[in-house]
């Protein structure tokens, strides 16, 4: 035992050089400062009210307690939060946003990447504007505009998930368009030409050639647009008033600002909101990192 240990220490001492030591120290610093907040979020969600409200922080919860989750989901809990509604609302918004944005972007990107038409540059510049304009600038006129249209056509602007999906398209379509156009340009033109010589129309080419060849790009674009809608805060904050219509981010903000602070409940809700996104990302990391640098996510 002791010789083995000596060997290990001796081995370690031989391996460690100054550059290696500095490298390892910086790496460990990065990993702890990144992982600790995530650990703190998940572990806090399993604490009891006593553990959370004590004089000293509890670094490791004594047991996995579901008190916080009970408050979120159990109708018999005195401070039941109806969080299931918020999860469903978020899904009701992010899934349609992602599907609509991807479908529209497939056609739009194809036209930009492959076809010649007047006004292409003007359109591309218009799309780039969204990168320049702050969300807070666009939301004032959007709010006024939609209130006016809603008044004429007889729908409510507030607490209307459809309206929210519509406004999210403004944030997701430019991203989707940009990423897909870049991808379509990498598909060799010859394959499409061959399909056209075989008698396919342009639409058939898109359906039979371009889409099947772009599956990885389509997956990453749909996940990005999904993530943008899933995380969106400002527009939802302005457009939603009713607690049962809230998306998760707004609901978490509301729980946090409750007069009786319940950090474990906030952390439980945050865990529920974060884990699927991080897992989704890890599962598809290979496809996704490229999109991150391609100007994928504005934020």
């Amino acid at each position: 035992m002791s010789t083995e240990r000596k060997n290990f220490i001796g081995h370690l001492a031989g391996w460690i050089t100054w550059p290696r030591f500095i490298f390892a120290a910086i790496l460990i610093f990065f990993l702890t400062s990144i992982l600790f907040p995530f650990y703190w979020m998940v572990s806090s969600s399993f604490k009891t009210k006593a553990e959370i409200g004590g004089r000293e922080p509890v670094y490791i919860p004594s047991a996995i307690r579901l008190d916080a989750y009970d408050e979120l989901f159990n109708p018999d809990n005195p401070s039941y939060q109806k969080f299931a509604y918020n999860i469903i609302n978020t899904l009701k918004i992010s899934i349609p946003t992602s599907i609509i944005a991807v479908i529209l972007a497939i056609f739009g990107s194809y036209a930009i990447a492959r076809l010649r038409f007047k006004g292409k540059n003007a359109l591309l510049n218009g799309i780039l504007l969204v990168y320049l304009f702050p969300g807070v600038l666009l939301i004032i006129p959007l709010f006024a505009m939609l209130a006016q249209i809603g008044d004429r056509l007889g729908f409510d602007v507030q607490d209307n998930l459809g309206v929210l999906v519509f406004t999210y398209l403004a944030q997701t379509i430019p991203v989707a368009l940009y990423m897909l156009t870049n991808y379509f340009r990498t598909i060799p033109d010859e394959i499409e030409q061959a399909a056209m010589i075989d008698g396919c129309s342009r639409l058939e080419v898109i359906w039979r050639v371009t889409i099947p060849l772009s599956i990885p790009a389509l997956v990453s674009v749909s996940i990005y647009t999904f993530m943008i809608a899933w995380n969106e805060f400002l527009y939802a904050l302005v457009f939603l008033n009713d607690h049962t219509m809230f998306t998760m981010p707004i609901k978490i903000n509301t729980i946090f600002n409750d007069p009786t602070p319940r950090p474990h409940v906030v952390m439980a809700a945050s865990t529920i909101m974060t884990i699927p996104i991080v897992l989704l990302f890890l599962a598809l990391e290979r496809y996704l990192t490229e999109g991150l640098t391609a100007g994928g996510v504005k934020g």
């Binding site: 990144i34 703190w40 504007l129 969300g135 600038l137 666009l138 006024a144 995380n231 934020g299």
Partner: protein, 312 residues
């Protein structure tokens, strides 16, 4: 239809353009209706008196000239008052410049770290991306909970144990410190973006450059400055511009972390407060236009400087 126009109508060029427009028209409509038109409309709003009372009849809102702008300039939340408060404009500029610079520095360190092979590098790279991928709401509240002013806050506990502070501090409710922390959290959250872009460029640097420098007897620091940084010049410039733009426009992070209090009120937060807490949309739009003007002025100067350097 005359033969000539018919020919033109049927020419492959024209057919292609028609197909292109039919493919892109839904997108174009959305881009115009939800981005371009609102952007122009917000200029209009900034010159009119628009509140909750006339929101349903916004096109008949009274014209007030520059009154909204004057109100913003004279607002204590906007004005720079020496020794008292920086005001939203100066805070915005300081906040964006500082957090962008810090984001790039941290991103550069992280990318150099991940550029050398070691066991578990793939996993480390995935973990490094977590802060950027996770929802801002969760991130903001975890940090708020870590920085909690009670003695049970993690940072308070650690610093008390180390004997660095005597009493628990309200970090995010202390003028100055709050701004510094918000900047640090920005760098923590957004460095992965810089890291990925730098990493892609680092991997494209020709190794023979380093070998040649070694032959010439260059040390590690010289190699870093004259090869690595020189090769990264353009990508660093691009990241700086993009991140600066996005940080300058950013609302969520500061709103969630401090609510814009304690010397962290930036222009987007002020815009939100004017528009959706005071419901003075005209004043909000005026603030947003000021924000945009500062941003554009900066970009013009930056691009002019960079272009001149490129020409040299």
């Amino acid at each position: 239809m005359s033969l000539l126009t018919k020919q033109r109508w049927n020419s492959s060029r024209a057919r292609e353009a028609r197909l292109a427009w039919s493919l892109i028209s839904p997108t174009a409509l959305i881009v115009f209706g939800l981005i371009i038109f609102p952007a122009i409309f917000s200029i209009w709003v900034s010159f009119h008196d628009v509140g909750l009372n006339n929101l349903n009849d916004v096109f008949n809102a009274p014209f007030v000239g520059f009154e909204n702008y004057v109100k913003v300039f004279n607002d204590f939340a906007f004005k720079f008052q020496f020794g008292q408060s920086w005001g939203a404009a100066v805070t915005s500029v300081v906040y964006s410049l500082a957090s962008t610079t810090l984001t790039i520095i941290v991103g550069l360190i992280a990318s150099l770290l991940l550029n050398r092979p070691f066991r578990g590098r793939g996993l480390a790279r995935a973990i490094f991306l977590f802060p950027y991928v996770a929802p801002i709401v969760s991130i903001a509240f975890v940090w708020k909970w870590i920085l909690d002013p009670r003695p049970s806050g993690v940072l308070n506990d650690i610093l008390l144990r180390l004997g660095l502070i005597d009493a628990p501090q309200a970090y995010l409710a202390t003028r100055g410190l709050a701004l510094v922390l918000v900047i640090l959290i920005q760098a923590w959250r957004y460095f992965p973006f810089a890291m990925l872009m730098i990493l892609a460029r680092l991997q494209a640097i020709d190794n023979t450059l380093y070998e040649a420098a070694e032959v010439d007897g260059a040390n590690a620091i010289q190699k870093f400055i004259h090869i690595t940084l020189a090769e990264l010049r353009y990508v660093l410039g691009a990241i700086f511009l993009l991140r600066l733009m996005w940080t300058f426009n950013k609302f969520d992070d500061i709103y969630l972390l401090t609510g814009g209090g304690f010397g962290t009120r930036v222009l987007p937060v002020l815009t939100y407060q004017f528009s959706f807490q005071m419901f003075d949309f005209g004043r909000g739009a005026a603030t947003a236009m000021i924000l945009l003007t500062i941003l554009m002025a900066f970009m013009v100067v930056y691009i002019a400087l960079v272009m001149r350097k490129v020409e040299e």
